[in-house]
């Protein structure tokens, strides 16, 4: 099929119960859908959890993903986001020998700062749109990051 594949963010509200995450990931692997990133955490003061899945596919595939997700019994709601605020966090570990002030300034441009400085390493965090996090990670390459962890995106419909 020559249909264009596009990036999509889907949020899923599920009952917070055993094996619900496997049901979701099994569905993606079983039907050959992509998962770029997946985050999950309980929704405060409720029996539900919220998953944010970044995926990609043609319009038809994305429609199937939302429908198939909805078919799972513990799924309450599926949002296929169009107009949303989307953020992702990253933690980056640098050698203590790198310039603290340079790194801190760069982090600030991406909603972040240095969050820990120890004997050997400093740890910085940023929280921004995923494509801006990409840019940040490119920009900090020259400070020899030792370890990078990204949280995966979370999103809220505007």
């Amino acid at each position: 099929m020559s249909e264009n594949s596009e990036r999509r963010v889907v949020s899923v509200i599920v009952v917070n119960e055993a094996s619900v995450l496997s049901r979701i990931t099994d569905l993606f692997s079983g039907r050959g859908y992509n998962i770029t990133s997946l985050t999950v955490a309980p929704i405060p003061d409720s029996k539900y959890s919220r998953l944010t899945i970044v995926t990609s596919g043609s319009v038809r595939v994305i429609e199937q993903i939302t429908k198939q997700l909805h078919k799972l019994i513990p799924v309450l709601r599926v949002y296929e986001h169009a107009d949303m605020v989307e953020k992702e966090m990253a933690l980056i570990k640098f050698p203590i020998t790198e310039s603290l002030s340079d790194i801190n300034t760069l982090c600030e441009a991406y909603n972040g700062k240095i969050v820990n400085a120890g004997e050997n390493v400093i740890i910085a965090m940023v929280a921004d749109e995923p494509n801006r996090v990409d840019n940040f990670l490119k920009a900090v390459k020259r400070y020899n990051p030792k370890e990078i962890v990204r949280s995966g995106a979370v999103a809220l419909e505007r």
Binding site: A18, D26, G30, P74
Partner: protein, 565 residues
């Protein structure tokens, strides 16, 4: 009421009105079997393999319309049952399958007969549960039955650790089910239905495309009404055989890979497909881009995910097909059935041009004749199950089905070995009808041990084995598409099927002629004991017509005209 988990299972099954359970005991489910021994609320049928228990429960469900119930033990008991679960899932059969599990304290320790059952069944069930506390059992079982039979039906698997079946807890089955996250949409949108009916009234060449969902929804008689009131011709899928009676003038035939020329041509020429409870399966559509190319599509289905999955629907209607068809019937006054007269003639001319038929042979019986003959002799008086392969297609093509729930076959998964155990379940559900299983010399050996179940439980299924000494359908593809390299499909080495049936206490016949066949069938019906009628049929007969996989419906390989060979 304070009772054990095992007793709760029994109480729940009785409360659900279950009268027959198929199964096979083993270590982890023994507490439940101990309670089965003590009760007389339902009958238990001991199959001789767990896969057969599931297929029998499927047959029972298909014939009766009730939820089929099967019970198995952990480990290999469960893994043997997986094929059946997958089969029921593909064909949307409402089932509750209860398996034993090792005690909670042993889960995750690679204990004897331990397997992650819910992990395995997740992808081949509608839903599943691992019950970790007996106080949840009532709710879980009640939900399981509810989920199995509502919405798009399907199998639900409940895995119960052995210590949970021993645990004593409070039991109350008289509870309301609250599933906030599961609310099937059963009522079609009235505006969409009205728009769809307007589209039908404007169409020149509309065509009903009837699917198995109609049978699941018990909507066949409403659909018959709709077809007759509108005067629109109809094609049936394999799963929908019996929705319309075989002699209905508006029934064009079965469509798809082995559908009739007329059905496939009608689908190619129509300007409006009216899909009711059908899912545009690849065996039905052939090449998607050429399928009903110039037609609009009305698609009625209980499962939103089936709509616009493969073929875009111009009029999507999510709902129970029975409700929707009833609503459609109230708009029929706008439809002038005379306006489709020339379309009906076109379709019937397709049928005249290449009717669904076969050529008789003076030396060997033709398998199609056998199917037709059973139809002539038993007709409505028989329920028909099949295995998978050539005989399955011939059964669908040539048996005169006259009612829904008369035909049980493994459509989606295509499970060889389905037919015999399914036919046992059918007989248990519908003892007043003759239960026939059309099978092949390949398929029958895949659950042949069920002869013992049939003898023990007095379930006189008549297995008509169309013996061509080949794994016929694969052989047909090898002949047509693999340059006649018949790799591992020659089944010349065979058991003596007559002795095989007799060894279990059944009855066997070997048949070479029409007269012998009539006599054998008559005798088997009279003797009322499980039977093998082995019919020696033409070895190289192919199922025709045929749309090669991935081909367009209108490019069919047709039956060669007589004498052109």
């Amino acid at each position: 009421m304070q009772i054990s988990g095992a007793q709760m299972v029994i109480e729940a099954l009785i409360a659900e009105g279950v009268d027959t359970v198929f199964g096979y005991p083993g270590g982890a489910i023994m507490n439940v079997y101990d309670e089965i021994y003590k009760q007389d609320g339902f009958k238990h049928i001991l199959n001789r393999h767990e896969q057969a228990s599931i297929h029998a429960a499927e047959g029972y469900s298909k014939a009766s319309g009730k939820v089929g119930v099967a019970m198995i033990t952990s480990g290999p008991g469960f893994t043997n049952a997986v094929t059946g679960l997958a089969d029921a899932y593909m064909d949307s059969i409402p089932m509750v399958v209860i398996s034993g599990q090792v005690p909670m304290s042993l889960i995750g320790t690679d204990a004897f007969q331990e397997i992650d059952a819910v992990g395995i069944s997740r992808s081949c069930t509608k839903h599943n549960y691992l019950v970790t506390d007996a106080k949840d059992l009532a709710r879980v079982l009640k939900e399981a039955f509810y989920i199995a039979r509502t919405g798009r039906p399907g199998p639900v698997h409940v895995d119960i650790p052995k210590d949970v079946t021993a645990q004593i807890a409070e039991f109350n089955y008289d509870i309301e089910i609250e599933l906030e996250t599961y609310k099937p949409h059963v009522k079609g949108n009235p505006r969409q239905i009205k728009k769809a009916m307007e589209a039908i009234s404007k169409a020149k060449r509309p065509l009903f495309y009837l699917g198995g969902g109609i049978i699941n929804a018990n909507a066949a008689y409403e659909v018959r009404d709709l077809v007759h009131k509108t005067g629109i011709p109809a094609v049936e899928t394999f799963m929908a055989r019996g929705v319309l009676s075989y002699d209905d003038e508006l029934l064009v035939g079965m469509l798809g890979m082995h559908g009739s020329y007329a059905s496939n041509m009608a689908m190619s020429e129509t300007d409006l497909v009216i899909a009711l409870g059908a899912r545009f399966d690849d065996r039905v559509t052939g090449k998607l881009s050429e399928f009903a190319k110039n037609a609009g599509v009305i698609h009625v289905d209980i499962d939103p995910a089936s709509i616009s999955k493969l073929v875009n629907a111009d009029y999507p209607i999510v709902g129970d097909v029975k409700n929707v068809v009833n609503d459609m019937l109230t708009h029929c006054d706008k439809i002038n059935s005379d306006s489709y007269k020339s379309w009906r003639e076109t379709v019937s001319n397709f049928n005249k041009l290449h009717p669904l038929t076969f050529h008789e042979d003076s030396e060997r019986l033709k398998p199609q004749w056998v199917v037709k003959r059973v139809g002539e002799l038993l007709g409505d008086g028989a329920n028909i199950s099949t295995d998978v392969g050539q005989h399955q297609m011939w059964s669908a093509q040539f048996y005169p089905f006259s009612r829904p729930r008369q035909f049980m076959s493994s459509g989606g998964l295509g499970t060889m070995g389905f037919g015999f155990p399914a036919a046992l379940g059918v007989k248990a559900a519908s003892p007043e009808k003759v239960s026939i299983n059309f099978t092949g010399d390949g398929s029958i050996l895949m659950n042949v041990q069920e002869l013992m179940t049939a003898v023990e439980k007095k379930l006189p299924v008549i297995n008509v084995i169309l013996n061509n000494n080949y794994l016929g359908m694969v052989r047909q593809w090898q002949t047509l598409f693999y340059d006649k390299r018949h790799s591992e499909t020659d089944l010349s080495i065979q058991p003596d099927f007559v002795k095989l049936a007799e060894a279990f206490g059944g009855i066997g016949y070997r048949v070479n002629t029409k007269e012998e066949f009539d006599a054998a069938l008559k005798d088997a019906v009279e003797k009322n004991v499980v039977a093998f009628i082995e019919v020696i049929v033409h070895r190289m007969e192919n199922v025709m017509p045929m749309v090669p996989a991935g081909g367009s419906l209108f490019n069919m390989m047709l039956l060669e005209k007589k004498g052109t060979k």
